[in-house]
Symmetry: C2
């Protein structure tokens, strides 16, 4: 009896993060074929590219998979139409107002899940009628909340006020941290960084190697006045830091960022000038693996740690 397993009809309550420039059909289908929920990250795809990935994913797996859509992106009408036409079983929405599209997606048969980083937005998403919530803590890679609430604190807070199935994200890359998340009140976990360092991820090998060599303190949450994002402290970040130190305006910083930094870093492998979005938990990731191995390692460790703790009641 697990709410996430029941909702998504999957074997393990492990959802792969739908990350821009990382999560294409190869990774999504590999995760779904291994018993988790694979997710295509639509945030970095033009509508026709998204359609291609969906079709390929359907060919590669007969299991449920999902698509992650950042609601603030352009051409949202077209993207939503594709999801509906393609009868995508699970749609994960983020970065935007869940009340705009949830009903339309649900009416067409999709399960809708919304990503939040605060209690306030969790309540808002529940009111908008979503089917589950992903609660993402401060340590997570990529775009993030302003309150800086960590997974350890955020998950119990949200679990207390909503009755929907709850998925924890941020800081989770192993069976031990998955068990921690479940202890905090989550029904399942979303794992991002660990799957960046997978053979099936579409991320550039240079970026995968940066992930497996990351240490504590390698990442930082920055651009808090624009859109907060956790990324690797590379040369690109050092420039941002310098601009803040000399008191640059949000406009000046925005001008420096320009366009296409995430693609340049994560997809093209430019480690100096590109934006490398990754979580703090990259410091625990030492090896590029196949999605199947990642999931089986997590499940084994989860059950092993649970077994040990079960024998040590206090």
């Amino acid at each position: 009896m697990n709410k996430i397993i029941d909702l998504f009809k999957i074997k393990y309550p492990i959802i792969q993060g739908g990350m821009v420039w990382v999560s294409g059909w190869k990774l999504a289908s590999a995760v779904s074929n291994s018993g988790g929920l694979g997710i295509i990250g639509a945030g970095s795809m033009h509508p026709d590219v998204l359609t291609e990935h969906i079709l390929k994913c359907k060919k590669a797996t007969s299991k449920p998979f999902g698509v992650n859509v950042p609601l603030l992106y352009p051409q949202m009408d077209k993207i939503i139409k594709i999801l509906i036409d393609q009868k995508i079983p699970i749609v994960i929405t983020s970065a935007g107002n869940p009340s705009t599209w949830t009903n339309k997606l649900k009416d067409s048969g999709s399960i809708v899940v919304h990503v939040v980083s605060s209690v306030k937005f969790a309540i808002k998403a529940e009111k908008a009628g979503v089917d589950a919530i992903i609660a993402e803590g401060f340590e997570a890679g990529g775009h993030n909340g302003r309150e800086e609430t960590t997974t350890m604190v955020l998950v119990p807070l949200i679990s207390e006020v909503i009755s929907l199935p709850l998925i924890a994200a941020g800081g989770i890359a192993s069976g031990a941290s998955m068990l921690a998340a479940m202890s905090l009140g989550a029904d399942g976990v979303q794992i991002g960084s660990r799957f960046v360092a997978s053979h099936e991820a579409s991320s550039h090998i240079n970026f995968k190697n940066i992930v497996t060599s990351a240490e504590e303190g390698s990442t930082i949450l920055t651009l808090k006045d624009l859109t907060p994002v956790r990324l690797v402290k590379n040369k690109f970040y050092e420039e941002i830091k310098k601009l803040y130190l000399v008191g640059a305006s949000s406009q000046e910083i925005s001008d420096y960022l320009g366009k296409g930094r995430a693609k340049k870093g994560m997809f093209e492998g430019d480690l100096e000038q590109g934006e490398l979005e990754i979580g703090q938990v990259s410091s625990q990731i030492k090896k590029i693996k196949y999605a199947k191995e990642i999931i089986s390692d997590i499940v084994k460790e989860y059950n092993r740690v649970l077994d040990i703790l079960s024998k040590q009641k206090i």
Copy 2:
């Protein structure tokens, strides 16, 4: 078989944080009498005051208790002499180099535990010969590390590289979060904020009320260029923020802080001009309780959640 229970000879692996202006003999003895490890916070005590608290604590409990000493404070020779003369069973050191005093304390029979916020310092403390490590995450109240590593990420990282008993701190105020910490590889937990809102804490009632009314986003880690500290975003903090925004130097900010802000806030109850050090987890604390009730609630919830999870292997 629990390393922390064995090391400290206590009933539950729950250590109460030795917090300045909060943790006097009343709180420490109440925690020890309830099966946890009570800690006197020497950081806010003159040597003679510390002696008084130790003597009163000995009268109030026959159970083991400890003293927390921030090693960078003045009169350290005198403080260490008191700890040795009084045969304090457990000394927790923080904010300073563990190699300076560890041997002297251990030679006199004390168990020495050091607080760290990074892997680097955990390794250093292990080399210095301490008996256990407290790993404190970004969400913790009071003084904190520069890497901003959260409890969820820090505990597995440190657990991987050291073989000493490990205590997790930061974001823990309930049985659920204690179980999360133990899942991450900790052998016990240190709990601070939850004990601030206890009847026995010496903190001012105004401060206790601020803790029980805190919400997500009520605290922030600031003063990163001086000594990073997590505190309540009150009027005092808003002034600090303004100074940073106009590009004030570290010296100017240090001048604004002046002396005695922590006492003013936490002990005297000046909520506007005082420094109110507390963790993110204050957002989960709704009621002032007795130490005994806090511990029994945590233990009950720990076992209840563990029971539920044990029946749901994945």
